[in-house]
Structure formats: structure tokens, C-alpha cells
Symmetry: C2
């Protein structure tokens, strides 16, 4: 466990530990031994064994006796969240229309603490595809959607975020100064969109706009990202901002229409 | 809890119950009260409250004090599985090429007990989009990918499946007789593909082929689905089977090439 916080007396530690065991598996560690899981979660071997065997019995984990791996049933858990959101379903056709029009990939994400999480994505047809899918997470400060979402947070939340956030340089252009980031967010809140120029990855520019729900609150962000070869930030703003804002507007309209569904 | 099975003495019941609380949320129930969760999971109100508050503390559930809903962090759990699979990433560009060629949607799924679970999907650009996404589940017996996957199971597994499966008619064409289903699966195993003609949904025909991994074992299925207006089953077989088999072959080739990654 990496976090040390005060837990309520009713906190179910077994649930926390079981979920940590699930999260130990990822692209770099699709198969783990009992010892791996114990080491990665900080559990004793005996405890790790109990959780793994429980997950095997529940059909979430497969084992050959030595190696453990996740089974597709695990998707039920994330799917519960995705299917409970009407946003991806509502956004999808509008995202597809935008991609067909501008020939760049389009994504929708929401804020989860200091990170953005992709909840919908329509890649453009290119020979080079980027390995981003629903569930992908990026630090909010270095992405256009993240900045749009940060810019919409209440002042106290943002103060706290800027005081604690680990603003690491991901490229040589990443804004890592909290004061500069705060100014950028103010500008974004006023202008209603964000451009990020190669701060997450060299050669990648991205343009994002907010998606507003009930009460005009920002519930998500939608973006288009373009390779630097498409043109300067200014070219991207000129060419892609109007269709992006139109797309955000159509998604908002459909969300409003479906509010009583 | 719907299942009554013998649990090992080391079984962690709190983990099972916590996961059941997560699964209580879905498209029809994105927001639940404490009483809803207690009723849907069979837990006491006191127990449901402990699990919900634990999930709130861990950042997986949001509450306004009365209503509970899942938060995007939940995606981490399913994402652990998806990112641990190389299959969706490897399959994606080949699926996109197939969709561009045949103008029908393409999906890849794996078997999870009696159901298929979608792990990758490339929809075609149509005005009508079907609400299928990664994580969607269908009963295997009524789908083309399910039949391809069932046909590849060991004999004992299949006997057990056919003896217990709840083969309900989903349309008036669904094969619900275990003997007829067994014959269909035998044919599929021999011919190397499955066609399902409006057995899952009226107006929907689908064609699936196996994806073989290491040791020639079937690890997944890939399909294309077409509206009935595209033509008869025979037309679909003639037009779509050659490109589908070619796509399956390319995915297998890339999987083999990546075996040592």
C-alpha cells in the first residue's frame, strides 16, 4: 500500500487489499507469481495467497498453479462504470463525425484526481496508431483535456492541486511551474478551450474543449490531437477549433435531451 | 449472491461482497441508494454501508450522502486486464483495415464461461450505431464468435456446457436444442468459421473465425456483423469470409511475431 491515510472504523481492509491485488497486473506484468503479488502489494505471502485464490474461485483470475493472470470477467467491474455513463454512448457518433471531417483522432475524458481517464476514443485511420484506449490515464497538467478539466475545478481544489501536484517535465516543453500552470488555466477558463503543444509527447499537439452537463458544470473534455506535421499551434487552432467546439455543443445537446431518460 | 457453491476455507468473503457491490451498478442503475445496493446484493444494510463507504474512501465510488455512483477510478480494474492482453492492440490495425474494406463492424472477443466478452471493436461509420463496446457480454450459443469459441473447447467442457446451459430463444431463429447446437459446433470446428443468422437479434447476421495462439489453441474469435439488408447468409459468406479469414491470419501472424516481446 503506498498511501497512509486515516481510515474510518468501518473500513473493510480486505476489499482494499483484494483490489490492490487486481491492480498489480498490467501490461508489463500480465502474469505474476504469488511472490510477485506479495511484493507488489506489500501483503504477506499468506495474505496474497488468500486473495489470489479467492479471485480464482470467483473467476476473475486464472492460474496454472504457479503463474496467475487476470481473466476477462475482470472487465465486468470497469464495464459497470462505463455502461453507467451515458456520455461515451452519446458522444460516440459525434466523435466519429468529427474524425471523418478533420482526419485526426478524437477522445473524451474525465478527471480522476490528478489524472485524466479516457472514456471514449475514435482513432483516425492512420498507419501509425497510438496505443491509447478507454481507461488510459495521463497526468492532467500536461494534456489539453486535463487542462480544460483542471480549469473548471473550484478554487480550493485547484490551490490544493497546485500545492501538491508532481509537475514533472514529460518533454522539454512541459509547463512544470505551478504559477505558470495557474495562469494557463485562467486563460483556458476564459477562452473556453486549451491547446497543448508537445508537452505530453514530442510531436503531438492537442486541442480540447469542455463538455458541460446539468447546471453548466464541466463534466468531461473532448479533444482532437494532431501530429506536429499538421501545422503550428495557430494552424491547429484555426482549422480544428471550430469543428471541435461544434462537436462539444452537439454532445451537450444530446446529453440534455437524454437527461430524463 | 446468486451462486451457492462450496468455498475454500481461505476464501475472503469481504472481497466477494465488495466486488458484488461494484457490479450492482450498471446502465439501468447508474445511481443507487444504500437500500438499493443492499437489496441487489443480498447484503444487510449495515454491510452494504461498510462496503460502499470503503469504496468511497478508496475513490471508486462517489456519494452525495444519499445516492452512490461509480467513479472513473473503477476503470483501473478492468484496464488492468485489457492492458495485460496484447491481443486488442495487435488486432486493432487489422480490424480497422477490414472495416475500411468491407464497411461492416468488426469485433474480437474471448470466452468467459458461457458468455463472450468483447475485448476490441471497430464500428463501421453508419448513422445507426449499435451500443456494443469493449466489455459487452453476450451468451455464447447465440453469437458467431461464441460458437467459434465453444467449438474449440475440450469435449468434457462442452458436454458440461450443453448439459447445463440455459439456451433461451433470443429470436424465433435461435437454436435452443442442445443436440442441434452440438451438431452446429462440430460443423464449425471442421469448416473453421461460424455464421449466425439472426439468432441473437432479428436483422443481424454475423460471421466469425477463430484466432489461434501458441500451440494452435483458439484464444479468441474475430467477427464481422452485417444488417440483413446486406444480403443472404450465402452472400455474406461469399463476400466477407475471405477477407475475415485473411484478417484472422494477419492477427495470428503478429501475435506470433510478438510472442517474445
Amino acid at each position: 500500500m503506498t498511501e497512509e491515510t486515516t481510515r474510518s472504523p468501518e473500513f473493510v481492509q480486505s476489499l482494499e487489499r483484494g483490489l490492490a491485488v487486481i491492480r498489480a497486473f498490467d501490461a508489463e506484468h500480465p502474469q505474476l507469481t504469488l511472490s510477485d503479488v506479495a511484493r507488489m502489494t506489500g501483503l504477506t505471502r499468506a495474505a496474497a495467497r488468500r486473495f489470489l485464490l479467492t479471485l480464482v474461485e470467483l473467476g476473475y483470475v486464472h492460474t496454472d498453479g504457479r503463474l496467475f493472470s487476470l481473466r476477462p470477467r475482470i472487465l465486468q467491474l470497469g464495464y459497470a462504470y462505463l455502461s453507467s455513463l451515458s456520455l461515451p454512448e452519446v458522444a460516440q457518433p459525434h466523435m466519429e463525425a468529427l474524425v471523418a471531417q478533420v482526419h485526426e483522432s478524437c477522445s473524451v475524458s474525465v478527471l480522476d484526481g490528478p489524472e485524466v481517464v479516457y472514456v471514449a476514443r475514435v482513432p483516425t485511420k492512420r498507419i501509425m496508431t497510438v496505443g491509447i484506449s478507454v481507461g488510459t490515464r495521463f497526468p492532467a497538467y500536461a494534456t489539453s483535456m486535463g487542462r480544460v478539466l483542471l480549469a473548471a475545478q473550484p478554487a480550493e481544489w485547484l490551490d490544493d492541486y497546485l500545492a501538491r501536484a508532481d509537475l514533472r517535465p514529460l518533454t522539454r516543453r512541459t509547463v512544470t511551474d505551478p504559477g505558470k500552470l495557474r495562469s494557463a488555466l485562467k486563460k483556458i477558463a476564459t477562452q473556453g478551450y486549451a491547446i497543448v503543444d508537445q508537452e505530453l509527447e514530442e510531436g503531438l499537439r492537442s486541442l480540447a474543449a469542455p463538455i458541460r452537463g446539468d447546471n453548466d458544470s464541466v463534466i468531461a473534455a473532448v479533444n482532437v490531437s494532431a501530429h506536429a506535421s499538421r501545422g503550428s499551434s495557430e494552424t491547429i487552432r484555426k482549422e480544428l477549433l471550430p469543428p471541435l467546439l461544434a462537436t462539444a455543443g452537439r454532445i451537450e445537446e444530446d446529453l440534455r435531451a437524454g437527461l430524463n431518460r
